[in-house]
């Protein structure tokens, strides 16, 4: 089973996330990771969906997604060159004497301190899934109090685009 990264452009309309998530649920497709946000255009959102499955399953996922009226474009970027990132925030239990150690680890991963409490320290870190996993494992011995990840976002390298094309419009279907 391979993981596939799909970049999906959708209408920025209410309910579109439910439509996509509902489709995955009722057709029995598993979402590994899902990140949603608007693009440079107000009327278009972009979902980066990571799905695990063989080729025929991914083909079905793509075709079924295409049937949703609100889905504008789907690109399976897995086999292309792309950059991907994820943001994690981790809150670690750290007594004052442990802070330096954790900050040293953070330095290795180029993570930043975003909050400091009397007994905790919170880092943010970006990178691909592998780096985030490694960062998490390195902090585990100190006791992770809380961890939140955004899910993966991805973009093709170089002169290739996943975009709608044409000019922006704000009066799309609701």
């Amino acid at each position: 089973m391979e993981k596939h990264t799909l970049s999906v452009l959708v209408e920025n309309s209410p309910g579109v996330l439910t439509r996509v998530a509902g489709l995955f649920a009722r057709r029995g497709f598993n979402i590994d990771s899902l990140a949603v946000g608007r693009t440079d255009r107000n009327d278009v959102s972009r979902m980066t969906i990571v799905v695990e499955g063989d080729r025929s399953l991914i083909e079905q996922v793509t075709k079924q997604l295409h049937k949703l009226i609100d889905v504008i474009k789907i690109s399976n970027i897995t086999e292309e060159e792309y950059v991907d990132r994820e943001l994690v925030m981790v809150k670690v239990g750290a007594e004052p004497n442990q802070r330096v150690e954790t900050m040293h680890i953070a330095g290795i991963f180029r993570a930043r301190v975003v909050d400091l409490g009397r007994k905790t320290i919170t880092f943010e870190c970006t990178g691909n899934a592998g780096k985030i996993n490694a960062f998490e494992e390195s902090l585990r011995p100190y006791g992770i109090k809380e961890l939140v990840r955004t899910g993966k976002i991805a973009m093709l390298r170089g002169n290739k685009f996943v975009s709608v094309g044409g000019t922006s419009r704000d009066d799309e279907e609701d």
Binding site: G22, R26, L68
Partner: protein, 555 residues
């Protein structure tokens, strides 16, 4: 004008002549606007499920978009079964529901349900109208989406306060949906490839589904089959898409298909799937389905191709356009050997039933019904054994003459669908063939039928049992018959009388021979109650897990 008035304007612009519905509180403004429409006829049903099935029947016979309307809450939820039915059978339909005022949405207010949420998996698309100005564009899009590509139901949910808001009305002339662009024209190189494969094939079989009906491709299918001398089998949804009395016709395939259709598929070296979706009741066992065949699959919905079985030549497009493009490329090939084989399969495994026991057999009733009408009638059915007997023994001649619930298998569909069919095909003879179980699910629509003055003949194959379930229990539960026998039925002749129409009861073949034709030909509605044996099974039958070539005789 108000949004409600604009909605009625939009419906008129879409050439809607009939809508089926049931009023209520949240939809009040729309009904008030309908009051002033002289062009739209509103058919008041007895239950919202009747409205949605009637709109479905109307759409199936006319090819137009069926329209139904209901209020919020229970009105909307009562539509759900019918929406699912239309979705499964790809029937073009627009459903309008009232919704509680926007300020009350999400507060569990009186008669509030999230109908767009509920119908998400069973509509092609749906809308909750939040901005009054969007109404014309939403209605235009809804009709466009419902009727193009692979058709399907589209729901528009309109909050009461929005319906009452004043807007400047302008109906859009075009639709702009950047996420929706169906492919109609088949890829030319694939079409050439298909023509070449057909030229080389020795034992081709055409497997044609509901797409033939939806794309009005029956005459192209006939030309195609004759041009390549290939036998044609229909899925249940494809029935009436090919003349039932044509020598190349194999009848229906699959679970209760003819043995010769199933065996022809099994021996075939080229399976040409046209507007069909390799449904589980057709394929049965994926591993033994068409084992020797190269598979061509033409469908307008790309998601159907490769969904169930591997396809050698996939082609996305409208079946009618694809066949039109294909016809000039076909070469005449001598297939007398294959056609001879088909003839011998038909002779060896005919579709038959036993008439020995003296009782009135349901298959005999269907055969006589065909004799009375010679295929020139619209046959609506419900779901169950009677439906399969119609599929097996009624030789449909023209498209859109079978009105039946295929994918969802929805008992209770028949009567309201017959009501819609009768309105959608004025002047046509409409006969509902139903069972004693199915009819009683939506029997209240007899009131609608009489009120509208509709000439629907209701033929009940009455065996006092839920026959299809009984048959399943005979084969899969070792004859433990649980909850299938009715100990009470109304007197259907008296019921007919209560609704002011004639009722007949036929108990023997002689009764049918003597009275059926007269009952059918006499103008006006009637109930024709045929008492048939409970033990009769639909035969042949493919047991679960078996391949279609392993059908058993269970008559």
């Amino acid at each position: 004008m108000t949004v409600a008035e604009a909605l009625v304007q939009c419906l008129e612009r879409e050439n809607v002549d009939t809508i089926f519905g049931y009023p209520g509180g949240a939809i009040l403004p729309v009904y008030d606007a309908l009051y002033h429409s002289s062009r739209i006829k509103h058919v008041l049903v007895r239950h919202e499920q009747g409205a949605v099935h009637a709109a479905d029947g109307y759409a199936r016979v006319s090819g137009k978009v069926g329209v139904c309307i209901a209020t919020s809450g229970p009105g909307a939820t009562n539509l759900v079964t019918g929406i699912a039915n239309a979705y499964m059978d790809s029937i073009p339909m627009v459903i309008i529901t009232g919704q509680v005022p926007t300020s009350q949405i999400g507060t569990d207010s009186f008669q509030e349900v999230d109908i767009t949420g509920i119908t998400l998996p069973i509509t092609k698309h749906n809308y909750l109208l939040k901005y009054p100005d969007r109404l014309p564009a939403v209605v235009k899009s809804a009709f466009h989406i419902a009727s193009t590509g692979r058709p399907g139901p589209v729901l528009i949910d309109i909050p009461k306060d929005i319906a009452q808001t004043k807007i400047a009305f302008k109906y859009p002339t075009s639709v702009r949906l950047r996420g929706y662009k169906p492919t109609y024209k088949g890829h030319p190189s694939k079409i050439k490839e298909i023509a070449a494969l057909i030229g080389k094939a020795k034992r081709p079989v055409i497997y044609a589904g509901g797409g033939i009906i939806a794309s009005n491709a029956s005459s192209e299918l006939l030309q195609f089959a004759e041009a390549i001398s290939a036998p044609v089998t229909n899925t249940f949804m494809g029935l009436a898409g090919f003349p039932g009395d044509h020598p190349l016709f194999l009848g229906m395939l699959g679970l209760h298909g003819t043995r010769y259709a199933n065996l022809a598929i099994t021996e075939s070296d080229l399976l040409i799937g046209l507007g069909a979706r390799f449904d589980d009741r057709v394929v049965m066992n994926i591993n033994t389905f068409a084992p020797k065949a190269t598979v061509i699959h033409v469908d307008i919905d790309p998601a159907e191709i490769g969904k169930v079985i591997g396809t050698n030549v996939p082609l996305v497009g409208d079946v009618k356009l694809v066949l039109k493009a294909l016809l000039p490329l076909l070469e005449k090939v001598d297939r007398s050997e294959w056609l001879e084989r088909i003839r011998s399969l038909k002779a060896e495994y005919p579709l038959t039933y036993s008439r020995a026991c003296g009782a009135l057999k349901p298959q005999f009733v269907i055969e006589q019904l065909w004799q009375c009408t010679k295929g020139d009638a619209i046959i609506a059915t419900d779901v169950g054994q009677h439906q399969m007997w119609v599929a097996q023994f009624y030789k449909f001649r023209e498209p859109r003459t079978l009105v039946s619930s295929g994918g969802l298998g929805c008992m209770g569909f028949g009567l309201p669908a017959a009501v819609g069919a009768c309105i959608g095909a004025p002047g046509r003879k409409v006969i509902l063939v139903t069972g004693d179980g199915s009819l009683q699910m939506t029997m209240q629509e007899l009131g609608t039928m009489i009120e509208q003055g509709l000439d629907v003949k209701i033929v009940i194959l009455n065996n006092y049992v839920l026959g299809m379930v009984r048959q399943l229990q005979e084969f899969y539960c070792e004859g433990r018959y649980m909850a299938v026998n009715f100990r009470f039925h109304p007197d259907f002749e008296l019921l007919a009388k209560a609704y002011g129409m004639p009722g007949y009861t036929f108990k023997t073949e002689e009764d049918v021979l003597r009275g059926l034709a007269e009952a059918i030909d006499k103008p006006g509605p009637a109930i024709i109650n045929c008492i048939v044996p409970a033990e009769e099974n639909v035969s042949p039958m493919v047991m679960a897990g078996s391949g279609i070539h392993e059908a058993i005789d269970c008559g």
